[in-house]
């Protein structure tokens, strides 16, 4: 008996998803529309980082907004104040974010909710630094007039150009994480999530692997932060409160814990839904809250689990008793 969800189907689903994303600007080139879906792509990158922590390693982090902010400010300040080229600043955003994440190494030994609360505390501290250290971050006024992203001589001046750049980053991070998941490192993460004692007995240095996981997630989230800064062209400390951390966590969970595609879908749900509900202005957050509850009740694997179940049902009606666990790892 082979329980693996057919690989070809997984890839078919992923390719369809990215094809739709690539085609979105064809639907409408309206600046506002493109701006919002670009933001969803950017948060897709951050949500992938969260998925590595939560879905692969089982590490509950409520600290990702801090790395998003660190990446954003690093990139904004380097391009604006020190005239760095965008790509260099983009890479630096990942590096600085990674360096700061090393501070978290001691707390990786905390478990479950305790880890969540400690990282929550970290977000609050970083946010306060952004608010109060004007010399570093511009304080509550934030940073204005951040330049457009550019690749060498090409300036990505239009919303559509920025969109495709964000999509390219998302695809690269997605493929990178897919490779990581299917490697010695990825197996170690999964082993730690499933049983720490057994992982230790298999020769895995838990603290080391967990820390590496935090650093990788921080790099990627720092990249997302850089994109965020140059996409919005304006930064404000209140973009990086712990509420943003919670939103990033929701993105990874709504789409299905452990699923890469789920994280991308989750980011679209969390970013687009409130915008799409603007028409019913007053009621939109009421509906948003209700939908969040409903989504979480979709079953153990969120929307990815639902997708896997549906596909399975369509393909082979009623092959009962097959675990969805693997299926959700789309």
């Amino acid at each position: 008996m082979d329980d693996k969800f057919p690989r070809t189907l997984v890839w078919a689903g992923r390719i369809v998803m990215f094809a739709i994303l690539a085609a979105l600007p064809l639907i409408s080139q309206q600046d506002y529309f493109i701006h919002v879906v670009s933001l969803a792509l950017i948060f897709g990158v951050a949500a992938l980082g969260m998925q590595l922590l939560l879905g692969y390693a089982g590490l509950l982090s409520v600290g990702q907004a801090a790395f998003l902010g660190i990446g954003a400010y690093t990139s904004a300040m380097l391009t604006k104040e020190h005239a760095w080229p965008f790509l260099a600043a983009f890479l630096a955003a990942g590096v600085v974010s990674a360096l700061v994440s090393l501070v978290l190494v001691p707390i990786t030994r905390l478990r479950g909710i305790y880890l969540g609360v400690a990282t929550l505390g970290f977000t609050i501290i970083v946010h306060l630094v952004m608010v109060n250290e004007e010399w570093l971050t511009g304080g509550t006024l934030g940073v204005l007039a951040i330049p457009h992203p550019s690749i060498g001589p090409w300036k990505l001046g239009s919303e559509v150009a920025v969109y495709y750049f964000c999509l390219a980053v998302l695809v690269i991070v997605f493929l990178a994480f897919h490779r990581l998941g299917d490697s010695r490192f990825g197996r170690a993460l999964q082993a730690i999530q499933l049983d720490e004692d057994a992982a230790r007995a298999s020769g895995i240095n838990i603290t080391l692997v967990k820390s590496q996981c935090f650093v990788v997630a921080a790099v990627v989230t720092g990249f997302a932060g850089s994109l965020f800064a140059h996409h919005a062209q304006y930064l404000n400390p209140n973009d990086f409160t712990f509420w943003k951390s919670i939103e990033i966590l929701i993105m990874a969970a709504v789409g299905g814990v452990g699923s890469l595609a789920g994280a991308v879908v989750g980011a679209f749900v969390v970013v687009i839904l409130p915008e799409a509900l603007r028409a019913i202005d007053q009621w939109r957050m009421v509906i948003y809250g209700s939908l969040l509850i409903v989504f979480m009740g979709f079953g153990p694997r969120g929307m990815a689990g639902l997708f896997a179940l549906a596909t399975r049902w369509i393909l082979a009606r009623g092959q009962a008793g097959v675990p969805v666990a693997k299926a959700a790892r789309l």
Partner: protein, 267 residues
């Protein structure tokens, strides 16, 4: 010959309770050592101390002459002391092959960058790991189920999968915590075969077990613990004939004496 694993006056306390009380023993290379004793004798605690999952309150643990008393469990495992757990601790959501590959973690070198770039060396390492893992699965008779999700295996298969995960990295010492618990007669027989084969390949084995038939059949020497104390040690025949051991198992008076009498009558 240096013992491969040496326990030197090890004591382990939990609050006021002394789980292991100044136990000393040495396991020679190539041995199959049984560790037996009534419930609560401290057998699993001793195993946890040997594997580095628990630190002794006092005393020393030596592996091939090196002091590993303070080494972390993953270090001890990487050095070549592997173990299984009492209630089978598999990575349930992973495949059978995936579980065994995790056992090879410490043998690999490929890091995050190598995995991202899929370097030639990383791919070669993956392939050779998969080969090694498949060989280990063949040794325990699970090769056909390599792609099954571990949690959906039958109980007996889960137990030998855990052994495969422990031996895949070619350890010097294999510690088994109640490998026969919950197995039926044919599964137990299969298990005995597996343990003997592993031992024949040069792995020293220590088994904590209640299943006396398995212990007596497979072990070359047996250590008996009682209330955390080292009670007796010797070949299966010596231990079986030891009055103190029988007393510890069956309690003073009545049954114990009756059995001794029966034995004497038969002899």
């Amino acid at each position: 010959m240096t013992p491969v694993l040496e326990i030197a006056t090890v004591t382990r306390r939990f609050g006021g309770l002394v789980a292991i009380d100044e136990v000393t023993t040495a396991i020679a290379p190539g041995e199959i050592r049984g560790i037996i004793g009534p419930n609560g004798a401290g057998k699993t605690t001793l195993l946890n101390i040997m594997s580095g999952h628990m630190r002794p309150s006092s005393g020393r643990v030596l592996f091939a002459g090196r002091d590993i008393t303070k080494a972390r469990a993953d270090k001890v495992a990487a050095m070549g002391v592997r173990r299984t757990f009492q209630n089978v601790r598999l990575f349930g959501e992973m495949t059978v092959l995936g579980n065994v590959l995790v056992g090879l973690h410490a043998n690999g070198r490929a890091g995050i960058f190598a995995a991202l770039l899929r370097t030639g060396r990383q791919r070669r390492e993956e392939h050779s790991m998969i080969d090694t893992a498949m060989q280990a699965l063949e040794r325990v008779g699970l090769a056909a189920q390599a792609n099954t999700i571990a949690s959906s295996l039958a109980y007996g298969h889960r137990k030998v999968l855990e052994i495969a995960r422990a031996i895949v990295a070619a350890p010097k010492v294999l510690l088994l915590d109640e490998p026969a618990a919950g197995l039926n007669a044919s599964e137990a027989a299969n298990l005995i075969g597996v343990i003997r084969r592993i031992n024949a390949e040069g792995v020293t084995v220590a088994i904590v077990e209640h299943h006396m038939e398995v212990i007596m059949k497979v072990c070359s020497r047996i250590t008996v613990l009682n209330y955390g104390k080292h009670l007796a040690e010797g070949t299966p025949a010596e231990v079986q004939g030891n009055a103190q051991v029988i007393e510890a198992y069956l309690g003073r008076g009545g049954v114990a004496e009756r059995i001794m009498e029966l034995k004497a009558a038969h002899a």
